[in-house]
Symmetry: C2
Subunit: 297 residues, 2 copies
């Protein structure tokens, strides 16, 4: 069944995702801050909307994929935002990673007009977006989720319903805690291996298959050793997510020591000009900050 | 080819390993602190030695699998130790996890008599020992390693030569840094999930398959959620290895912040009476130590 869809935010993630929806035979209206980013989609048959509210007026489901909480708030509940066109049955699917608290607030505002916001942050990076193999973590009204689930299948391979509004965002933040602290484990272990004179490649081979194994070790370890800091996932984006995670954890009554540590180390990485490098560029930062003034022994 | 072998230290790991060597048709002499532990092997045809030197006198290759550095030093270079029977061609294979520095020292002492010490710490736990599927990380003289490699194949599935004397121990410690800091990542992430009201099982399912995935998450995560703290690997043994890792890292000029953190948390776990629980019992400790006085929000 062809649907009237809108997609707002055509960045590295949103662009390919919108493309998959269009390719699946749906009618698509798009809006993004930099119109040039929409050109390919417009050539392929998408229509342009001058504002989020205009996009929402023409659509049954509105997708958003934006950098941070204020961007989503502006687009969804701001002046000339989606909310201006909110009506019973409209569903907003937010693929951004943003504050769970702000998510719940926006869902409530939309609910007052009979519309709903589904939080649906993704993991899998630009490769996952291009290949439609993203993991999508969904929170919000179950009926609204059931309504849009077939659409999510065009971009996601694993779609998990996590619970009420904000649960998708919280699950994504749990994911980022795992990703970043496991990355730190890899950095410290390889720094130790190198400083001890071990062959890092041989060490990786020896430990990757057992209880020490992780996606981070297998995928980022070789890049760290090779000094390849090209971004899979950029440090500044990771750091934005860790800020959200620290805030959400504190709201839940937890001050997480390892998460705080990795957040401080990413701050240091950004000070060193590594904001646009991949998260594996935490490795040189760990080596530097761990070095004792005077090696003993 | 049947060989004359000795095995010293018949604990949870050493017992099954010695059994595999015996079952492979080799002639085995055994020694251990508590003779009762040797009974099954003696019934199966192993002979008893009254001391490490006596065991070494009757063997071409001596295996040791002991709790800590002082135990290995006593057995290998102590009074009535293996060194009393050291002669050209004798190879000692140490399966214990101990200090890399002490390992190099003992290898040097044995070398003076024409014998060698190969460090060959294992990972894979008691299950790996029982099923002969251990990972063995080997350091030491390459010729001595080549000499004993076919014997290691009776207990190990993955055998990696890591470099000169001590390199096997260092690689094992790198492994333990990964294992323990990744475990901490899992603890903080699941503590955050629970405190935020997420369904922990659903959260696990959503995040295990991607960039957040690890052996620790898939294997210890479900136990943490279930409150099952029965030991796979005991906290007090992990903590002994982390002490070795911290020392070795400092000798290499590194003070590793996350490793220090997890070491402090295991200390706290031991103070709480959890020394003989599995490493997944770090979870309640992380929940307790992370709790802020007054939840915000």
């Amino acid at each position: 069944m062809s649907e009237q869809l809108a997609f707002i935010g055509l960045g590295i993630m949103g662009g390919p995702m919108a493309g998959h929806l269009l390719a699946s035979g749906h009618s698509l209206v798009v809006h993004t801050r930099t119109k040039a980013r929409a050109e390919e989609l417009l050539r392929r048959g998408a229509r342009w909307a001058a504002s989020p509210s205009e996009a929402a007026r023409e659509a049954q489901v509105v997708f958003t994929c934006l950098p941070d909480t204020p961007d989503v708030e502006k687009v969804v509940v701001g002046n000339d935002g989606v909310i201006a066109a909110a009506r019973p049955g409209l569903v907003v699917v937010d693929h951004s990673t943003i504050s769970p608290k702000a998510t719940r607030r926006m869902d409530q505002e939309l609910s007052a007009k009979g519309a709903r916001l589904i939080d649906a942050p993704v993991s899998g990076g630009d490769t996952g977006a291009k290949n439609a193999t993203l993991s999508i973590m969904v929170g919000g009204d179950q009926a609204a989720f059931d309504r849009v689930r077939p659409l999510l299948a065009h971009t996601g391979k694993t779609i998990t319903y996590c619970g009420s509004s904000g649960s998708g965002q919280l699950t994504k933040l749990v994911n980022q805690v795992l990703v970043s602290v496991t990355n730190l484990a890899v950095c410290e272990a390889l720094a130790f291996a190198q400083a001890s004179g071990l062959d890092p490649q041989r060490t990786l081979a020896a430990v990757s298959g057992g209880a020490a194994g992780s996606w981070q070790l297998s995928n980022l370890g070789p890049k760290m050793i090779a000094g390849d800091f090209r971004p899979g996932f950029m440090i500044r984006l990771q750091q934005k997510d860790l800020r959200l995670a620290l805030d959400a954890a504190r709201e839940a009554g937890l001050d997480l020591a390892a998460l705080n540590l990795v957040h401080r180390l990413f701050d240091e990485a950004i000070r060193e000009g590594r904001a646009s490098e991949g998260t594996q560029a935490l490795f040189p930062v760990v080596k530097l900050t761990s070095a004792t003034a005077r090696p003993q022994g």
